[in-house]
């Protein structure tokens, strides 16, 4: 097709879209002034337009293959069982530690990202943040390991549901909600005392073990480590729009408000 001809197709097609749907067929016929092949070409495109639905409307990166480790893959002593979750920066697997004979959760970078120094540093920071907090409501970090260039965090595997799934089934009984809330507050208090701000606390990141023991706060992927050891009580949580490392800090002094320390607040919550 020549440039000139395509320019006509294009302008008639675009002109037709300005017309009401039922008038387009006739409008095109008139615009083409008896050029039958041109009529057919534009009609064909209009038909295709009418049935295009959401064709190409979902960006292509959703098709990007992440090279998820398959069940049965071995990383040293760990045998991957299956993927159990996915966050902005890593994939979480259920794995079996064949040396110690227990199940663990492994959080690893997908292979396309495992060479990125920045993301490796983030994963290290995440491991360190969570490992420094000792609290029954924070999943225990066992180790940070690297095997065949694959860096991963090994932590306690919590069998259970997320708080998101639980509240999806209807509101919690007040006494249960209170019990869960108090334990989460206590866990955050321990984190803040260790100088760690979670910054991504949400129902998806709170696991409720099947065993019936208290909730577990997980995913310190965007946690912030402070040097002072304590954190102002009203520190603003990070908005979801800024989980990438290196973005300008969202924490402004003005958002920190009252300089009350967390331990004081915790004692009142558990009293």
């Amino acid at each position: 097709m020549t440039r000139e001809r395509w320019a006509r197709v294009r302008s008639i097609f675009e002109g037709a879209l300005e017309q009401p749907v039922e008038a387009r067929t006739e409008w095109v016929r008139q615009a083409c002034q008896g050029d039958e092949p041109l009529v057919r070409e534009v009609w064909g495109l209009l038909r295709s337009h009418a049935t295009a639905g959401d064709f190409l409307e979902q960006p292509a990166h959703l098709d990007f293959d992440l090279d998820i480790l398959e069940g049965g893959t071995e990383l040293g002593a760990f045998r991957i069982i299956r993927e159990i979750g996915r966050g902005g920066m890593g994939v979480v697997y259920l794995a079996h530690d064949q040396e110690l004979g227990r199940n663990v959760a492994l959080k690893a970078l997908p292979s396309a990202l495992s060479a990125s120094p920045e993301l490796r540093q983030r994963l290290r920071r995440e491991a360190r943040a969570a490992a420094n907090i000792k609290h029954p409501s924070i999943a225990t970090v066992h180790a940070l390991s690297e095997i065949d260039g694959q860096l991963f965090i090994v932590s306690e595997f919590v069998q259970g549901t997320t708080l998101r799934e639980l509240i999806g089934g209807g509101p919690l009984e007040a006494s249960r909600a209170y019990a869960v809330a108090v334990k989460i507050a206590s866990a955050l208090s321990a984190a803040h005392a260790a100088g760690v701000i979670h910054r991504d606390l949400k129902p998806e990141n709170i696991l409720l073990p099947e065993s019936g023991t208290g909730p577990k706060v997980v995913d310190f992927g965007v946690a912030k480590l402070t040097t002072t050891g304590t954190v102002p009580a009203t520190a603003a949580p990070s908005p979801r729009s800024a989980p990438l490392s290196g973005l300008p800090p969202t924490w402004r002094p003005s958002s920190c408000g009252a300089r009350r320390s967390m331990p004081a607040r915790t004692s009142s919550a558990s009293a």
Binding site: L56, Q58, P59, A60, L62, D65, R86, L119, E204
Partner: protein, 176 residues
């Protein structure tokens, strides 16, 4: 080379802004793909011979092409895997994972159709690279190519109609 090295942090910043945009509008299960794709585009751009970007528009056009190439190469490798009899990857879906089924698009067929479209209307190809392969919205695309959102919308409608017809033509030819 020096110049190239100086430029790369800026390139990465720009790519990161792209990733941040994806993250702000997508569900958590999808952000990792976007991050991975952007990261791979960065690695490729950094490895290529030094080049200068005239401006942000030029850079985004190059990055968009790079993302298209990455996705096409991966699709090609996957097809080769299947033909070679290599074990096929099994995706294990767990109820906990926010899995959003990606639209069922044959990237390789789309790529070939885009090659043909390039002979007819190269502007539409660039538009598809920005909208589909880079994931920019209509408004963002308009900003990058320097036209109005209304114009981008019209061109996008034409590009989708043309490509859909091209892909369906192939599918029906294959059945016959």
């Amino acid at each position: 080379m020096q110049q190239h090295a100086d430029l790369m942090p800026l390139v990465y910043d720009e790519l990161r802004r792209l990733a941040a945009r994806y993250i702000s509008r997508e569900r958590p299960g999808q952000t990792l793909q976007a991050t991975a794709l952007v990261n791979e585009a960065y690695v490729r751009l950094a490895a290529e011979r030094p080049r200068e970007f005239a401006n942000r528009t030029h850079f985004l056009a190059i990055a968009a092409l790079s993302m298209r190439q990455i996705l096409v190469q991966r699709a090609r490798a996957k097809r080769a895997d299947k033909r070679g009899g290599a074990p096929q990857k099994v995706t294990l879906n767990d109820g906990n994972i926010a899995q959003v089924p990606a639209a069922d698009i044959d990237i390789l067929a789309l790529d070939e159709a885009l090659e043909r479209l390039a002979d007819v209307d190269p502007d539409l190809v660039r538009l598809v690279e920005l909208r589909y392969f880079t994931g920019l919205t209509v408004e963002e695309t308009a900003d990058v190519v320097g036209s109005s959102p209304a114009t981008v919308k019209r061109q996008w409608a034409l590009a989708r109609a043309w490509l859909k017809r091209a892909l369906e033509g192939e599918a029906s030819a294959a059945v016959e």
